[in-house]
Protein backbone atom coordinates (compact mmCIF):
# COMPACT_ATOMS: atom_id res chain seq x y z
CA UNK A 1 0.00 0.00 0.00
CA UNK A 2 2.76 2.42 0.99
CA UNK A 3 4.65 1.55 -2.19
CA UNK A 4 1.57 2.40 -4.22
CA UNK A 5 1.24 5.71 -2.42
CA UNK A 6 4.90 6.49 -3.00
CA UNK A 7 4.58 5.67 -6.69
CA UNK A 8 1.49 7.86 -7.03
CA UNK A 9 3.17 10.73 -5.23
CA UNK A 10 6.09 10.52 -7.60
CA UNK A 11 3.90 10.30 -10.69
CA UNK A 12 3.51 14.02 -11.32
CA UNK A 13 1.60 14.86 -14.49
CA UNK A 14 3.88 15.06 -17.50
CA UNK A 15 4.24 18.60 -18.76
CA UNK A 16 4.25 22.05 -17.25
CA UNK A 17 1.49 22.90 -14.83
CA UNK A 18 0.25 26.48 -14.67
CA UNK A 19 -2.03 27.93 -12.03
CA UNK A 20 -4.50 30.73 -12.59
CA UNK A 21 -3.04 33.71 -10.71
CA UNK A 22 -5.72 36.30 -11.35
CA UNK A 23 -8.32 37.15 -13.89
CA UNK A 24 -11.76 38.37 -14.75
CA UNK A 25 -14.73 36.71 -16.36
CA UNK A 26 -17.56 38.91 -17.60
CA UNK A 27 -20.94 37.77 -18.87
CA UNK A 28 -22.79 40.34 -20.95
CA UNK A 29 -26.55 39.92 -20.97
CA UNK A 30 -28.74 42.02 -23.27
CA UNK A 31 -32.27 43.15 -22.43
CA UNK A 32 -34.45 45.45 -24.50
CA UNK A 33 -34.01 48.18 -21.87
CA UNK A 34 -30.35 47.79 -21.09
CA UNK A 35 -27.17 45.76 -21.28
CA UNK A 36 -25.88 44.16 -18.12
CA UNK A 37 -22.35 43.00 -17.37
CA UNK A 38 -21.88 40.49 -14.58
CA UNK A 39 -18.28 40.09 -13.51
CA UNK A 40 -16.31 37.82 -11.24
CA UNK A 41 -12.71 37.79 -10.18
CA UNK A 42 -13.11 34.72 -7.98
CA UNK A 43 -11.79 32.13 -10.39
CA UNK A 44 -10.06 28.80 -10.15
CA UNK A 45 -8.03 27.46 -13.02
CA UNK A 46 -5.15 25.33 -14.15
CA UNK A 47 -3.46 24.55 -17.41
CA UNK A 48 -1.22 21.60 -18.20
CA UNK A 49 1.04 22.20 -21.16
CA UNK A 50 2.24 18.84 -22.44
CA UNK A 51 5.51 18.19 -24.27
CA UNK A 52 3.74 17.72 -27.60
CA UNK A 53 2.35 21.24 -27.45
CA UNK A 54 -1.16 20.34 -26.37
CA UNK A 55 -2.41 22.32 -23.41
CA UNK A 56 -5.25 21.17 -21.23
CA UNK A 57 -7.12 23.97 -19.55
CA UNK A 58 -9.74 24.00 -16.83
CA UNK A 59 -11.28 27.18 -15.43
CA UNK A 60 -14.33 27.55 -13.23
CA UNK A 61 -16.16 30.23 -11.30
CA UNK A 62 -18.93 30.09 -8.77
CA UNK A 63 -22.20 31.44 -10.15
CA UNK A 64 -22.72 33.17 -6.80
CA UNK A 65 -19.56 35.21 -7.30
CA UNK A 66 -20.83 37.09 -10.37
CA UNK A 67 -21.77 40.68 -9.62
CA UNK A 68 -24.06 42.53 -12.03
CA UNK A 69 -24.58 45.63 -9.90
CA UNK A 70 -28.03 44.53 -8.74
CA UNK A 71 -28.26 41.97 -5.94
CA UNK A 72 -31.80 40.91 -6.90
CA UNK A 73 -30.68 40.22 -10.45
CA UNK A 74 -27.72 38.16 -9.18
CA UNK A 75 -29.95 36.07 -6.91
CA UNK A 76 -32.35 35.57 -9.82
CA UNK A 77 -29.48 34.33 -11.99
CA UNK A 78 -28.50 31.89 -9.26
CA UNK A 79 -32.01 30.52 -9.23
CA UNK A 80 -32.34 29.97 -12.99
CA UNK A 81 -28.94 28.28 -13.17
CA UNK A 82 -29.83 26.03 -10.20
CA UNK A 83 -26.86 27.32 -8.28
CA UNK A 84 -27.68 25.22 -5.22
CA UNK A 85 -27.18 22.02 -7.24
CA UNK A 86 -24.67 23.29 -9.81
CA UNK A 87 -22.66 26.04 -8.11
CA UNK A 88 -19.98 26.35 -10.81
CA UNK A 89 -19.79 27.48 -14.39
CA UNK A 90 -16.77 25.83 -15.95
CA UNK A 91 -14.74 25.48 -19.09
CA UNK A 92 -12.50 22.55 -19.92
CA UNK A 93 -10.66 22.15 -23.14
CA UNK A 94 -7.51 21.66 -25.12
CA UNK A 95 -5.35 23.97 -27.21
CA UNK A 96 -2.77 22.76 -29.69
CA UNK A 97 0.60 24.25 -30.55
CA UNK A 98 1.49 25.78 -27.21
CA UNK A 99 5.15 25.82 -26.26
CA UNK A 100 6.40 27.40 -23.06
CA UNK A 101 7.77 29.91 -22.59
CA UNK A 102 5.79 31.72 -25.22
CA UNK A 103 8.10 33.59 -27.56
CA UNK A 104 5.36 35.73 -29.07
CA UNK A 105 1.62 36.23 -28.89
CA UNK A 106 -0.31 33.24 -30.17
CA UNK A 107 -3.84 33.03 -31.49
CA UNK A 108 -5.38 29.61 -31.06
CA UNK A 109 -8.66 27.81 -30.55
CA UNK A 110 -9.66 26.19 -27.31
CA UNK A 111 -11.69 23.09 -28.15
CA UNK A 112 -13.76 23.11 -25.03
CA UNK A 113 -16.76 21.94 -23.14
CA UNK A 114 -18.63 24.60 -21.24
CA UNK A 115 -20.74 23.53 -18.29
CA UNK A 116 -23.53 25.68 -16.90
CA UNK A 117 -26.69 24.74 -15.05
CA UNK A 118 -25.50 21.13 -15.06
CA UNK A 119 -25.60 21.08 -18.87
CA UNK A 120 -22.54 20.61 -21.07
CA UNK A 121 -22.07 22.11 -24.52
CA UNK A 122 -19.09 21.92 -26.87
CA UNK A 123 -17.74 25.39 -27.67
CA UNK A 124 -14.83 26.44 -29.89
CA UNK A 125 -13.27 29.44 -28.17
CA UNK A 126 -10.89 31.71 -30.07
CA UNK A 127 -8.20 32.61 -27.58
CA UNK A 128 -5.19 34.90 -27.63
CA UNK A 129 -2.17 33.94 -25.57
CA UNK A 130 0.50 36.48 -24.76
CA UNK A 131 3.66 36.17 -22.67
CA UNK A 132 3.20 37.85 -19.31
CA UNK A 133 6.03 37.81 -16.83
CA UNK A 134 6.92 34.19 -16.37
CA UNK A 135 3.48 33.03 -17.39
CA UNK A 136 0.79 33.37 -19.99
CA UNK A 137 -2.05 35.82 -20.33
CA UNK A 138 -5.15 34.46 -22.05
CA UNK A 139 -7.89 36.68 -23.43
CA UNK A 140 -11.00 35.42 -25.15
CA UNK A 141 -14.60 36.16 -25.99
CA UNK A 142 -17.31 33.75 -27.03
CA UNK A 143 -21.11 33.61 -27.11
CA UNK A 144 -23.27 31.00 -25.43
CA UNK A 145 -26.98 30.31 -25.72
CA UNK A 146 -28.96 30.28 -22.48
CA UNK A 147 -31.57 28.08 -24.12
CA UNK A 148 -28.90 25.51 -25.07
CA UNK A 149 -27.94 25.26 -21.41
CA UNK A 150 -31.63 24.95 -20.45
CA UNK A 151 -31.46 28.18 -18.47
CA UNK A 152 -34.86 29.80 -18.14
CA UNK A 153 -34.11 33.27 -19.37
CA UNK A 154 -34.71 35.95 -16.71
CA UNK A 155 -37.08 38.75 -17.56
CA UNK A 156 -37.61 42.32 -16.49
CA UNK A 157 -41.03 43.91 -16.90
CA UNK A 158 -42.11 40.70 -18.68
CA UNK A 159 -39.48 41.01 -21.42
CA UNK A 160 -36.94 38.19 -21.41
CA UNK A 161 -33.23 38.81 -21.85
CA UNK A 162 -31.70 37.80 -25.18
CA UNK A 163 -30.77 34.16 -25.58
CA UNK A 164 -27.17 35.02 -26.41
CA UNK A 165 -24.78 35.85 -23.60
CA UNK A 166 -21.21 36.86 -24.41
CA UNK A 167 -18.48 35.63 -22.08
CA UNK A 168 -15.28 37.67 -22.00
CA UNK A 169 -12.22 36.54 -20.13
CA UNK A 170 -8.83 37.89 -19.21
CA UNK A 171 -6.78 35.35 -17.28
CA UNK A 172 -3.21 35.31 -16.09
CA UNK A 173 -1.54 31.93 -15.62
CA UNK A 174 1.76 31.41 -13.86
CA UNK A 175 3.93 28.39 -13.16
CA UNK A 176 2.48 26.22 -10.42
CA UNK A 177 4.63 26.05 -7.30
Amino acid sequence: MLTLVALLLCAAPEGQLLDLREGTLTATVVHKLHEVKATTKQLEGRALVQPGGEARVQVRAKIASFDSGNSNRDVHMREVTHDAEHPYASVKGTISGVTLPLAAPLSATLHSTVELNGEKQPVEIPIKLTPAGGGVRATFSFPISLDAFKVERPDLFFVKVDDQVVIDGDLLFGAAP
Binding site: M1, L4, G45, R73, F158
Partner: protein, 203 residues
Protein backbone atom coordinates in the same frame (compact mmCIF):
# COMPACT_ATOMS: atom_id res chain seq x y z
CA UNK B 1 -6.69 8.45 6.62
CA UNK B 2 -4.14 11.04 5.51
CA UNK B 3 -2.61 8.46 3.21
CA UNK B 4 -5.96 7.84 1.55
CA UNK B 5 -6.47 11.58 1.24
CA UNK B 6 -3.07 11.95 -0.41
CA UNK B 7 -3.98 9.18 -2.82
CA UNK B 8 -7.25 10.92 -3.61
CA UNK B 9 -5.55 14.25 -4.29
CA UNK B 10 -2.93 12.70 -6.50
CA UNK B 11 -5.51 10.68 -8.40
CA UNK B 12 -7.64 13.77 -8.94
CA UNK B 13 -4.70 15.73 -10.33
CA UNK B 14 -3.08 13.02 -12.35
CA UNK B 15 -3.90 12.90 -16.01
CA UNK B 16 -5.89 9.72 -16.57
CA UNK B 17 -4.62 7.38 -19.26
CA UNK B 18 -6.35 7.62 -22.59
CA UNK B 19 -9.10 5.00 -22.78
CA UNK B 20 -8.61 2.40 -25.50
CA UNK B 21 -10.18 3.73 -28.64
CA UNK B 22 -13.04 1.78 -30.14
CA UNK B 23 -12.68 1.19 -33.89
CA UNK B 24 -15.66 3.43 -34.64
CA UNK B 25 -14.02 6.35 -32.85
CA UNK B 26 -10.61 6.12 -34.45
CA UNK B 27 -11.52 8.81 -36.94
CA UNK B 28 -11.96 11.29 -34.07
CA UNK B 29 -8.92 13.61 -34.02
CA UNK B 30 -8.91 14.21 -30.28
CA UNK B 31 -10.48 12.86 -27.09
CA UNK B 32 -13.47 14.68 -25.60
CA UNK B 33 -12.22 18.03 -24.26
CA UNK B 34 -13.64 17.38 -20.81
CA UNK B 35 -11.90 14.04 -20.40
CA UNK B 36 -9.56 15.23 -17.64
CA UNK B 37 -9.58 17.01 -14.30
CA UNK B 38 -6.92 19.51 -13.32
CA UNK B 39 -8.85 21.01 -10.41
CA UNK B 40 -10.06 19.11 -7.37
CA UNK B 41 -13.48 17.60 -8.00
CA UNK B 42 -16.40 19.02 -6.08
CA UNK B 43 -17.37 16.92 -3.11
CA UNK B 44 -20.51 14.88 -3.74
CA UNK B 45 -23.31 16.31 -1.60
CA UNK B 46 -24.60 14.14 1.23
CA UNK B 47 -28.29 13.73 2.02
CA UNK B 48 -28.35 16.73 4.33
CA UNK B 49 -26.65 18.95 1.72
CA UNK B 50 -29.06 17.74 -0.95
CA UNK B 51 -32.00 18.60 1.30
CA UNK B 52 -30.52 22.05 1.94
CA UNK B 53 -30.03 22.59 -1.79
CA UNK B 54 -33.61 21.60 -2.53
CA UNK B 55 -34.93 23.93 0.15
CA UNK B 56 -32.71 26.76 -1.13
CA UNK B 57 -33.93 26.21 -4.68
CA UNK B 58 -37.56 26.15 -3.47
CA UNK B 59 -37.05 29.43 -1.62
CA UNK B 60 -35.36 31.00 -4.64
CA UNK B 61 -38.25 29.95 -6.88
CA UNK B 62 -40.80 31.33 -4.41
CA UNK B 63 -38.83 34.56 -4.24
CA UNK B 64 -38.81 34.88 -8.01
CA UNK B 65 -42.57 34.24 -8.25
CA UNK B 66 -43.25 36.89 -5.61
CA UNK B 67 -40.94 39.44 -7.26
CA UNK B 68 -42.49 38.64 -10.64
CA UNK B 69 -45.91 39.48 -9.20
CA UNK B 70 -44.30 42.50 -7.53
CA UNK B 71 -43.36 43.81 -10.99
CA UNK B 72 -46.87 43.29 -12.35
CA UNK B 73 -48.47 44.89 -9.28
CA UNK B 74 -45.89 47.69 -9.34
CA UNK B 75 -46.61 48.67 -12.93
CA UNK B 76 -50.36 48.64 -12.20
CA UNK B 77 -49.80 50.62 -9.01
CA UNK B 78 -47.70 53.23 -10.82
CA UNK B 79 -50.45 53.67 -13.42
CA UNK B 80 -53.12 53.99 -10.73
CA UNK B 81 -50.94 56.43 -8.77
CA UNK B 82 -50.53 58.52 -11.92
CA UNK B 83 -54.29 58.51 -12.45
CA UNK B 84 -54.81 59.51 -8.81
CA UNK B 85 -52.47 62.49 -9.23
CA UNK B 86 -54.18 63.56 -12.48
CA UNK B 87 -57.66 63.36 -10.95
CA UNK B 88 -56.40 65.06 -7.81
CA UNK B 89 -54.98 67.93 -9.85
CA UNK B 90 -58.24 68.25 -11.78
CA UNK B 91 -60.13 68.21 -8.49
CA UNK B 92 -57.83 70.91 -7.06
CA UNK B 93 -58.23 73.13 -10.14
CA UNK B 94 -61.98 72.59 -10.12
CA UNK B 95 -62.19 73.70 -6.49
CA UNK B 96 -59.54 76.40 -6.30
CA UNK B 97 -58.75 77.24 -9.92
CA UNK B 98 -61.92 79.09 -10.80
CA UNK B 99 -63.75 76.19 -12.43
CA UNK B 100 -66.84 76.51 -10.30
CA UNK B 101 -66.18 73.86 -7.62
CA UNK B 102 -68.44 71.39 -9.39
CA UNK B 103 -66.87 68.38 -7.61
CA UNK B 104 -66.96 66.37 -10.84
CA UNK B 105 -63.48 64.90 -10.25
CA UNK B 106 -63.80 64.37 -6.54
CA UNK B 107 -65.06 60.76 -6.60
CA UNK B 108 -62.63 59.86 -9.39
CA UNK B 109 -59.78 61.09 -7.22
CA UNK B 110 -61.06 59.36 -4.11
CA UNK B 111 -61.53 55.93 -5.70
CA UNK B 112 -58.32 55.95 -7.69
CA UNK B 113 -56.54 56.96 -4.46
CA UNK B 114 -58.13 54.04 -2.59
CA UNK B 115 -57.17 51.68 -5.42
CA UNK B 116 -53.61 53.02 -5.60
CA UNK B 117 -53.20 52.72 -1.82
CA UNK B 118 -54.37 49.09 -1.83
CA UNK B 119 -52.12 48.28 -4.79
CA UNK B 120 -49.19 50.03 -3.12
CA UNK B 121 -49.65 47.99 0.07
CA UNK B 122 -49.96 44.75 -1.91
CA UNK B 123 -46.95 45.52 -4.08
CA UNK B 124 -44.83 46.39 -1.07
CA UNK B 125 -45.93 43.25 0.76
CA UNK B 126 -44.83 41.04 -2.13
CA UNK B 127 -41.32 42.50 -1.91
CA UNK B 128 -41.03 42.75 1.86
CA UNK B 129 -42.24 39.20 2.50
CA UNK B 130 -40.34 37.56 -0.35
CA UNK B 131 -37.85 35.10 1.17
CA UNK B 132 -34.18 36.04 1.05
CA UNK B 133 -32.53 32.61 1.17
CA UNK B 134 -29.03 33.81 0.28
CA UNK B 135 -26.95 36.41 2.03
CA UNK B 136 -27.08 39.81 0.36
CA UNK B 137 -24.58 42.19 1.94
CA UNK B 138 -25.74 45.79 1.92
CA UNK B 139 -24.32 47.95 -0.85
CA UNK B 140 -25.42 50.82 -3.02
CA UNK B 141 -26.77 49.20 -6.17
CA UNK B 142 -29.86 49.68 -8.28
CA UNK B 143 -31.88 47.39 -6.01
CA UNK B 144 -30.91 49.54 -3.01
CA UNK B 145 -31.78 52.74 -4.90
CA UNK B 146 -35.15 51.19 -5.76
CA UNK B 147 -35.77 50.47 -2.08
CA UNK B 148 -34.77 54.02 -1.08
CA UNK B 149 -37.10 55.52 -3.67
CA UNK B 150 -39.96 53.26 -2.65
CA UNK B 151 -39.40 54.00 1.04
CA UNK B 152 -39.84 57.71 0.23
CA UNK B 153 -42.95 56.84 -1.79
CA UNK B 154 -44.26 54.73 1.13
CA UNK B 155 -43.85 57.64 3.53
CA UNK B 156 -45.60 59.81 0.96
CA UNK B 157 -48.50 57.38 0.66
CA UNK B 158 -49.04 57.35 4.42
CA UNK B 159 -48.82 61.14 4.54
CA UNK B 160 -51.26 61.41 1.63
CA UNK B 161 -53.88 59.23 3.29
CA UNK B 162 -53.69 61.35 6.44
CA UNK B 163 -53.57 64.66 4.55
CA UNK B 164 -56.37 63.61 2.16
CA UNK B 165 -58.74 62.72 4.98
CA UNK B 166 -57.72 65.81 6.92
CA UNK B 167 -58.24 68.07 3.90
CA UNK B 168 -61.68 66.60 3.21
CA UNK B 169 -62.66 67.19 6.86
CA UNK B 170 -61.69 70.87 6.57
CA UNK B 171 -64.54 71.56 4.13
CA UNK B 172 -65.80 75.10 4.70
CA UNK B 173 -62.60 76.19 6.44
CA UNK B 174 -60.19 78.71 4.97
CA UNK B 175 -57.34 76.41 5.99
CA UNK B 176 -58.59 73.72 3.62
CA UNK B 177 -56.74 75.26 0.68
CA UNK B 178 -53.44 75.11 2.57
CA UNK B 179 -54.00 71.45 3.39
CA UNK B 180 -55.02 70.81 -0.22
CA UNK B 181 -51.83 72.48 -1.43
CA UNK B 182 -49.73 70.33 0.92
CA UNK B 183 -51.65 67.26 -0.27
CA UNK B 184 -50.91 68.27 -3.86
CA UNK B 185 -47.17 68.76 -3.25
CA UNK B 186 -46.79 65.49 -1.34
CA UNK B 187 -48.78 63.75 -4.09
CA UNK B 188 -46.41 64.89 -6.81
CA UNK B 189 -43.43 63.95 -4.63
CA UNK B 190 -44.85 60.49 -4.00
CA UNK B 191 -45.48 59.90 -7.70
CA UNK B 192 -41.98 61.16 -8.50
CA UNK B 193 -40.37 58.83 -5.98
CA UNK B 194 -42.38 55.83 -7.24
CA UNK B 195 -41.51 56.66 -10.86
CA UNK B 196 -37.83 57.00 -9.93
CA UNK B 197 -38.00 53.65 -8.12
CA UNK B 198 -39.38 52.09 -11.29
CA UNK B 199 -36.91 53.80 -13.62
CA UNK B 200 -33.81 52.91 -11.62
CA UNK B 201 -34.48 49.22 -12.25
CA UNK B 202 -34.08 49.71 -15.98
CA UNK B 203 -30.36 50.44 -15.50
Amino acid sequence: MSVLLAVGIVLSQAVPPEPPKAPAKEASPRPPPEDFDLLPAEAAPDAAATARHQELQRQLELRRKMLHLHQLAGITMLASLGATVVFGELDYLDKYGGHGDTGQWHLWHRWTAIGASALFAGTASLAVFAPVPVEKPFRLDTATLHKICMSIASAGMVAQIVLGIWTANKEGSLAQRDFALAHQIVGFTTLGAAAAGFTVLTF
